[in-house]
């Protein structure tokens, strides 16, 4: 009497989407596939396709007209011809300007990363170890600047550092000659460190807040003074946070345009500015595209290698 048994089963809930689901199933698409497809489609349309377009442009040469570059594909009397120009990339290596710009960008990004780490680590440590009721307030203070426009904050910095800015006015009270801060590398460092500090603090904080306090007690119990405990326990255990934070600062800093443009001087050679000049001043789209692609390679490859190394380390640990 199975019909008798099923009598008490609750009736199937009416499902709003079942009609849509059936219709999709008819053409062979399941709901699961759709969920996976959404981000894939997004990435394809807004990331992969534009990237391919830029890469394509980087393989052409500049010409006057609209668009300001030679077409990749030409159709001459029925024969389709693909013309690839590699001179844009060759110029990147041969022209000292580009090499210098890349190296200088890497240098500025690296030094800025080290400075943000040195400032951000103690801050993240204090926030992570602070009592619960303080922690959210302190984190809020770190995130608060994001509520103001990035550009506005950079302009505000120049208000501090320019010739008759706040700092120099303050120094004048003590009879100190005004300092030249704007249009120097110093101003660029200040700008990068100031704007990217939260990106260092947040991953470090999420790491340090998980740090088990009893490990520090165990270290002290075994005879380690606080500095030793920091070097032997806290620092190695926070390495993933240090790496994550450094990546989040280094990668955007290397391609930074706004900060060197607004705060830096003519001597502050950074790849973001070179790219801007190529694109807008020289209208050399292909060259600018090549600069962008090369930067991607310079930045993405180290990151991928690092990630690989980290994964391999974790795998090795789990396997042994």
């Amino acid at each position: 009497m199975s019909s008798h048994d099923t009598h008490h089963a609750p009736p199937p809930r009416p499902r709003v989407w079942s009609g849509v689901e059936r219709a999709l199933a008819a053409v062979g698409i399941s709901g699961k596939a759709l969920v996976i497809a959404a981000p894939a489609i997004w990435l394809t349309v807004f990331f992969l396709v534009p990237l391919a377009v830029v890469f394509g442009i980087s393989l052409t040469i500049k010409q006057f007209g609209r668009p300001p570059y030679t077409p990749l594909l030409t159709n001459e009397e029925g024969t389709v011809q693909l013309t690839l120009h590699l001179n844009n990339y060759l110029r990147l290596f041969t022209d000292q300007l580009y090499v210098a710009a890349y190296l200088n960008s890497a240098k500025i990004a690296f030094i800025s990363t080290v400075i943000t780490l040195l400032i951000g680590y103690p801050m993240a440590y204090v926030i992570g170890r602070a009592p619960d009721q303080w922690r959210n307030i302190l984190l809020m203070l770190v995130i608060l600047p994001f509520w103001t426009s990035f550009l506005l904050r950079v302009y505000a910095l120049s208000g501090f550092m320019r010739g008759n800015g706040v700092i120099n006015q303050f120094l004048a009270l003590f009879g100190i000659e005004p300092l030249v801060m704007m249009q120097t590398d110093f101003a660029v460092y200040v700008g990068i460190v100031y704007t990217y500090l939260p990106f260092m603090i947040l991953p470090l904080y999420t790491n340090l807040v998980k740090l088990d306090g009893t490990l520090l007690e165990a270290s002290a119990d075994l005879g380690a003074r606080p500095v030793r405990t920091f070097l032997s326990i806290t620092l190695p255990l926070s390495m993933p946070g240090i790496l994550a934070g450094s990546m989040l600062v280094f990668i955007p800093a290397i391609g930074e345009f706004v900060i060197p443009a607004l705060l830096g001087g003519p001597g502050t050679l950074m790849i973001g500015r070179v790219l801007w000049d190529e694109f807008f001043a020289n209208t050399n789209w292909p060259r600018a595209a090549a600069v962008a692609i090369a930067m991607l390679v310079v930045v993405v490859i180290p990151v991928m290698l690092l990630q690989r190394a980290q994964d391999a380390m974790r795998d090795k640990e789990q396997a042994s």
């Binding site: 270290s219 002290a220 119990d221 075994l222 005879g223 380690a224």
Partner: protein, 382 residues
């Protein structure tokens, strides 16, 4: 010449009033805000003792241990270890090591590095460190596990690494916070004996914090029962169990039947208590510090009560009462009877199952007599 073997019974320094204690807590108090975590604790612990601090959660036992390790500073009072005042010495300068409840093994170091950590801080030469680590791995039976990381070990193995690490520096005093708490029952029993063996071999003074009374009873030379930040009783396991000094201690350790009564006879050699709850008089065969007509409590362990179908002779017209068997739980080795008295009071009685499948065993709903000896129970005034 025959050398008399030294018996454990001879080495009870706490019974010798001239012995100098190894650890001495004097009026130690710890306040967190307005709350007294530990209040006015004075305690002497002797060399090579295995002292258990026993108490429920929030009794202050862990705070006391943390003050001994140096992680907490007492609000008042002094802590002396081996004759030296340690009250304000930081943990890294104390001759004390601790085994943490969570073990607190360093996750980024392997077993060897974990054990060697304290030795490296002492600046020992490398060869000596390696030798000591190997020695300790043998002691805790973990040879061949030196290169493993903590996450590759089982709970029992981690516990032994933690023990080895805590013992590495040959501390004068080892503090153990719930050392067996994270192990399952069977492993706990095995480890318990191993722990005692290691303690006896090395002669290190152990202070163990635990909430498990069985663990405390089987491990300890002496137990300090803690309640609400105070020491309720200090004594050998048998004292704590057989001669509790308060209703709290009697109720906290093991199971107990407690009844109230009024003193009717107060002689130097005996007292008599009339108990409405029991429905009979209690004759206690020794003098008790009390007054006639005083209301007090009397506690008796379930195994000290005897069950019978016939009325037993009894003593001085006391120590016999009557009831009905209401419930029996058979536990294998013993059976626990719950007997309902006329007053509505229920008593627990345990009987050892000496005979296999005894057909004549007392069973449900039978009317039974209960009796006990004149020194089987404890008179408790607090």
């Amino acid at each position: 010449m025959v050398k008399n073997p030294q018996l454990a019974i001879d080495t009870r320094p706490w019974r010798d009033p001239t012995a100098t204690p190894f650890v001495r807590l004097r009026n130690v108090t710890k306040k967190f805000g307005d709350i007294f975590a530990v209040s006015d604790v004075s305690l002497d612990i002797y060399k090579s003792e295995l002292f258990c601090l026993l108490g429920g959660s929030g009794s202050g036992k862990s705070t006391l241990l943390r003050m001994l390790a140096g992680f907490e500073q007492p609000t008042a009072g002094t802590i002396e270890i081996d004759g030296q005042d340690m009250t304000h010495v930081p943990p890294y300068n104390r001759p004390v090591n601790m085994m943490f409840q969570s073990y607190a093994l360093f996750p980024h170091m392997n077993v060897e590095q974990n054990i060697a950590y304290g030795l490296k801080r002492d600046g020992l030469p490398r060869a000596e460190i390696a030798e000591r680590v190997a020695e300790l791995l043998t002691l805790v039976k973990l040879q061949g596990y030196g290169a493993r990381k903590p996450h590759q070990l089982s709970g029992g193995q981690r516990q032994r690494v933690a023990l080895a690490r805590a013992l590495a520096k040959r501390p004068k005093l080892l503090l153990l916070d719930e050392p067996l708490g994270a192990l399952d029952k069977k492993l706990r029993e095995e480890t318990q004996f191993e722990l005692v063996k290691i303690q006896e071999t090395l002669g290190v003074t152990f202070i163990v914090v635990t909430h498990d009374q069985e663990e405390a009873m089987s491990l300890a030379t002496r137990i300090g029962v803690m309640d609400q930040g105070e020491i309720a009783m200090i004594g050998e396991p048998t004292d704590i169990y057989e001669f509790p000094n308060s209703k709290f201690v009697a109720g906290f350790i093991g199971s107990v039947n407690m009844v109230e009564g009024v003193v009717t006879e107060d002689e130097p050699g005996h007292i008599r208590i009339r108990s409405e709850e029991l429905g009979c008089d209690i004759y206690v065969g020794h003098g008790v510090d009390c007054a006639p007509d005083q209301r007090l409590s009397w506690a008796i362990r379930p195994e000290k009560l005897a069950l019978s179908r016939e009325r037993p002779a009894g003593l001085f017209d006391a120590n016999v009462t009557q009831g009905t068997v209401e419930e029996i739980s058979y536990l294998g080795d013993v059976s626990v009877y719950q007997v309902l008295l006329a007053s509505g009071k229920r008593l627990r009685v345990t009987q050892t199952n000496t005979m296999r499948g005894n057909p004549d065993a007392i069973t449900w709903d039978e009317a039974v007599y209960l009796t006990w000896g004149d020194s089987a129970g404890s008179v408790l005034t607090v």
